[in-house]
């Protein structure tokens, strides 16, 4: 039975957008934790750590995100005999994925700080961790904000892939609404508008933060 696309559908789409945001938030937190570890491994003075960090990044970036979703959703039950919900699989897969990209972004930001800054810290007797914490990271954070928020926007949009393992978020809800109303153009315009409403403010925020940090050094 085909019904009209109505206000209630917009309401359902907005409800589904909550899950898009929730998955994004979880993936960003999880990915952030992985990312910090990866970035630090990649700039560490110990070769094996650097190699391990690089291997993680290469493996994650060399396989499509869709592939990782399948690995965690269908693979874990087979390989480890653990049943996972689409929530768990999506959260883990997206964190894994975000960790590699954030790790690379943040490594770049750490490395953008001139070598002489490390050296000045070392010359004053600061150890590696102290140089990082007091000298390098505070300067790198400013550089990191625009690409990090840029990636966050990517992440919001990429969560739509969660639909393939049955995770109902904005895009999946759009598909369901379309199946019921058969108004694809209207439905997907509404979906697009909601994505835009989530992403655009973030981009603006990034610009503002960037400007404010520049003034405050």
């Amino acid at each position: 039975m085909i019904r009209e696309f109505a206000a209630i559908d917009v309401y359902y789409l907005l409800l589904a957008a909550r899950w898009t945001l929730a998955l994004t938030a979880l993936a960003f937190v999880g990915g952030g934790l992985f990312g910090i570890v990866v970035a630090l491994m990649r700039v560490s003075p110990f070769m094996p750590l650097r190699a391990l960090g690089a291997a993680y990044v290469n493996v994650v970036q060399g396989i499509p995100l869709l592939g990782w979703l399948f690995v965690f959703f269908f693979g874990l039950p087979i390989l480890a005999s653990v049943q996972v919900s689409s929530w768990v699989a999506a959260t883990v897969a997206f964190s894994f994925y975000a960790g590699a990209f954030l790790g690379e972004i943040w490594r770049g930001c750490l490395q953008a700080i001139p070598r002489q800054q490390w050296e000045a810290g070392a010359a004053l007797g600061l150890g590696f961790g102290e140089q990082l914490r007091h000298v390098i990271v505070p300067q790198a954070v400013r550089v990191a904000i625009p690409p990090t928020v840029g990636f966050l926007v990517q992440l919001i949009k990429n969560t739509s892939l969660g639909a393939v393992i049955g995770f109902v978020e904005l895009t999946r809800e759009g598909q369901l609404t379309n199946a019921a109303t058969y108004r694809p153009f209207t439905v997907y315009i509404a979906v697009a508008a909601i994505y835009f409403a989530m992403c655009f403010p973030l981009t603006q925020l990034s610009r503002r933060l960037e400007r404010r940090l520049r003034v405050a050094r």
């Binding site: 002489q116 070392a122 010359a123 004053l124 150890g127 102290e130 505070p138």
Partner: protein, 243 residues
């Protein structure tokens, strides 16, 4: 025992030998000016003294600590040896006060209440007490370099290394930095300076070391080295820098 003892130091970057069997002793209170062309190994020698560059041969001993040994306690060493760089290398995100007190707080654990006093004290010595709350990019090159000297002084080092610290400065700013150096020297600090300021070397240095092709080519009292070069290499070099 000398404060600094270099014995047969060899430093290579890949196949390029930058220091070739360098030996030198520095006594407490000495002020050594190291001169020579760029690429002669002057800066590298300085960087080997505080362990910023590992050496491939010979030994570096500073204040009884063998810097060149594998497990050397560089953290302890660097509290006793300050270095000031050509490009200042102040921390741009920190105020002058924080630049100066970061290491004393983090490394020496001085109490935050006395940190500002410490910063003021060393800033007075370089004539910049009024800039304590400024940020590096609000200062001229000469002022930044004086803050860098103050930052180093705040660690109360026994030895200070200066790596061409006026080379990036305009001539009128060079003077203010040299004046500060002269005053630090007058306070009895042991100093090793890599410099192109021959007038300053002659006036302040107790000894001048001329480096050429990674070796100590000539050394001696400032007047004697600068006025009566014994080797054609030093004569050519002096001719080039003095005229």
């Amino acid at each position: 025992m000398s404060l600094v003892e270099l014995k047969g130091v060899v430093k290579r970057f890949g196949t390029n030998t930058v220091l070739d069997d360098v030996s030198m002793n520095v006594e407490r209170g000495e002020i050594i000016a190291v001169i020579g062309r760029s690429g002669s190994g002057k800066s590298t020698m300085l960087r080997c003294i505080n362990g910023l560059e590992p050496v491939q041969g010979g030994t570096v001993v500073v204040d009884g600590e063998t810097v060149s040994a594998p497990g050397a306690d560089l953290r302890a060493l660097r509290q006793r040896v300050g270095i000031v760089f050509q490009s200042y290398n102040l921390f741009p995100h920190l105020s002058v006060e924080k630049n100066i007190t970061l290491a004393p707080r983090v490394v020496k654990g001085i109490d935050p209440g006395t940190a500002r006093e410490l910063a003021l004290g060393v800033l007075r010595r370089v004539g910049l007490a009024e800039k304590i709350d400024a940020y590096p990019d609000q200062l001229s090159g000469g002022q930044q370099q004086r803050v860098a000297i103050a930052r180093s002084l705040a660690m109360q080092p026994k030895l200070m290394l200066f790596d061409e610290i006026t080379s990036a400065l305009d001539p009128e700013l060079t003077g203010e930095v040299l004046k500060v150096l002269e005053q630090v020297a007058a306070e009895g600090m042991t100093m090793i300076l890599v410099t192109h300021e021959m007038g300053f070397a002659r006036r302040v240095a107790t000894r001048v070391v001329f480096m050429h092709q990674g070796r100590i080519w000539e050394e001696g009292g400032a007047r004697e080295v600068l006025e009566k070069p014994r080797t054609p290499e030093l004569a050519t070099f002096l001719d080039a820098v003095l005229h």
